[in-house]
């Protein structure tokens, strides 16, 4: 089943790069998509448009058959009314590069706050879900800790649990390990691998090429705001057809030596 459809999406900023120029793609339920590409290629901007953190300049985004935003024939961008938009948005989860945990809430509160206030769950039920998720990410003993007491890897795992608690249909990751010390990336990637094994639909913007190769069902290579090439990891990493993809991966191979 198709869960996300993006058509001809454009987004630019005054005087900034990292633009998106005419991107179209689809995601099916249970798919794991890795988005790779050089810095400033528009990967993060694309994710931010999909999660409504940025307003698009042009295009259409359809989530689970419901149109979140579309562009009228006269060129005017038309977002779905606020109430409905909030409902559609609940299908989308997001994990940020810098975790963005709420510092004044304990770990368990970070996870339960949205299910209680937004989802309308009882605190007891929300707590059950939170503890289930905490055991899944291996942080049951940190339930009452505060974010400042966590390592970066732990904080990012809590952020993933926080997003999962809302039971999103798609989970977006914006460079989830880029702010971490190298020795801490493994624990976060392991959680994402577990989710992939459970067929959680995910779209991961990442610089971890080996992770993209191992975990993704499909890899999207972006450069200068466009999707240059997409396909299975074997195709993209083993036999890329586009010059820019080859150049990008070639440079990486030289630098990282894999």
């Amino acid at each position: 089943m198709q869960i996300l459809k993006v058509e001809n999406l454009y987004k630019s900023f005054d005087g900034a790069d990292d633009v998106v120029t005419g991107v179209s793609f689809k995601i099916n339920t249970g798919e794991v998509i890795a988005v790779i590409g050089p810095s400033g290629s528009g990967k993060s901007t694309l994710l931010r448009c999909l999660t409504l953190l940025e307003k698009i300049d042009h295009g259409t985004i359809i989530v689970a058959g419901e149109t979140m935003v579309t562009t009228l024939p006269n060129g005017q961008v038309s977002y779905t009314p606020e109430e409905k938009l909030r409902k559609i948005r609940l299908r989308l989860g997001m994990v940020f590069q810098n975790f963005n945990l709420f510092p004044h809430f304990s770990v368990v509160q970070n996870i339960t706050e949205a299910p209680i206030r937004v989802g309308g769950l009882s605190p007891a039920k929300a707590k059950d879900i939170a503890f289930e998720l905490l055991s899944k990410i291996g942080l049951s003993d940190k339930a009452d800790a505060y974010p400042y007491q966590l390592s970066g890897g732990q904080a990012q795992r809590v952020a993933i649990a926080r997003a999962l608690a809302m039971k999103p249909d798609i989970l977006f990751f914006d460079e989830p390990t880029s702010a971490l010390d190298p020795e801490l990336t493994g624990e976060v990637l392991k959680v994402i691998r577990t989710l992939a094994a459970e067929h959680m639909t995910m779209m991961v913007v990442t610089h971890e090429m080996s992770f993209a190769r191992d975990v993704a069902d499909r890899v999207i290579f972006m450069d200068k705001g466009e999707i240059i090439e997409e396909g299975t990891p074997d195709k993209i990493f083993g036999n890329p057809t586009n010059k820019r993809t080859k150049l990008f991966l070639g440079n990486l191979n030289l630098n990282s030596g894999f």
Binding site: L53, M94, F96, F102, P103, H104, A114, R117, R162, A163
Partner: protein, 224 residues
């Protein structure tokens, strides 16, 4: 004999000054009661993207911070009578005028402190709340404001301490607060003792203010 005489005089003086201090405290608490929430509203207006909202508020803050509070007290008390056209004239009770002037003045200062606090919270907090589905109101009151309060306690404490001392200004309207009572008593008995004791009372009040804020800061120190 002499000692008893003295202690009676001291008790009488203290009773007199404490009575004045009570008025000072009323001004203090009422001003905080009105200016703290009003300041938050003003801060939000000051940060509004619409020029027709933020421009008049900027002007308000400029006037409130840019003119003497003493003058504002006089203005609020006299202006409704002397500046309004015939038929619209009215006069406020002195005490009410004092509370209005103080609340507006302190709200302007508090507003800028709130604004500093609110703008210091990272954009990521708003974004995390938005993708989790929180409404703007929920985000502000559950996520942003609690963090703001922790950050602005020290500058708010500064203002509150100043307010204790500024309460002496209302004597310009003939209100018998601590300082005025002490000054009159000083003139009557031809001694600086009442003023000195009043000074100690101000110091005592601000010692309590300081302790209250220290306790609050400690309570919020459970996170960074």
């Amino acid at each position: 004999m002499f000692a008893t005489d003295n202690s009676i005089r001291i008790i009488k003086l203290l009773a007199l000054l404490l009575n004045g201090a009570l008025t000072s405290l009323q001004i203090f608490f009422l001003t905080l009661l009105f200016s703290l929430p009003l300041g938050l509203l003003i801060a939000l207006g000051r940060m509004a993207p619409q020029k027709w909202i933020n421009a008049p508020i900027k002007l308000f803050i400029l006037i409130m911070r840019g003119t003497p509070l003493l003058l504002q007290l006089i203005f609020v008390y006299f202006a409704p009578f002397y500046m309004l056209p015939e038929g619209f004239k009215f006069s406020l009770p002195r005490f009410t005028a004092a509370i209005i002037a103080f609340s507006l003045n302190y709200a302007a200062y508090f507003a800028e402190i709130y604004r500093g606090g609110i703008e210091s919270i990272s954009q990521g907090q708003y974004e995390a709340a938005a993708v989790l589905g929180f409404t703007k109101t929920q985000t502000f009151f559950r996520i942003i404001l609690p963090q703001v309060i922790k950050r602005i306690l020290p500058p708010i404490c500064n203002e509150v301490i100043t307010l204790v001392k500024d309460s002496a200004l209302v004597q310009i309207l003939g209100i018998s607060e601590l300082f005025r009572v002490a000054k009159n008593e000083s003139s009557r008995i031809f001694s600086t003792t009442p003023l000195f004791v009043a000074g100690l009372l101000y110091l005592f009040m601000n010692w309590i203010v300081t302790r209250v804020f220290e306790t609050a800061e400690k309570k919020l120190s459970y996170y960074h």
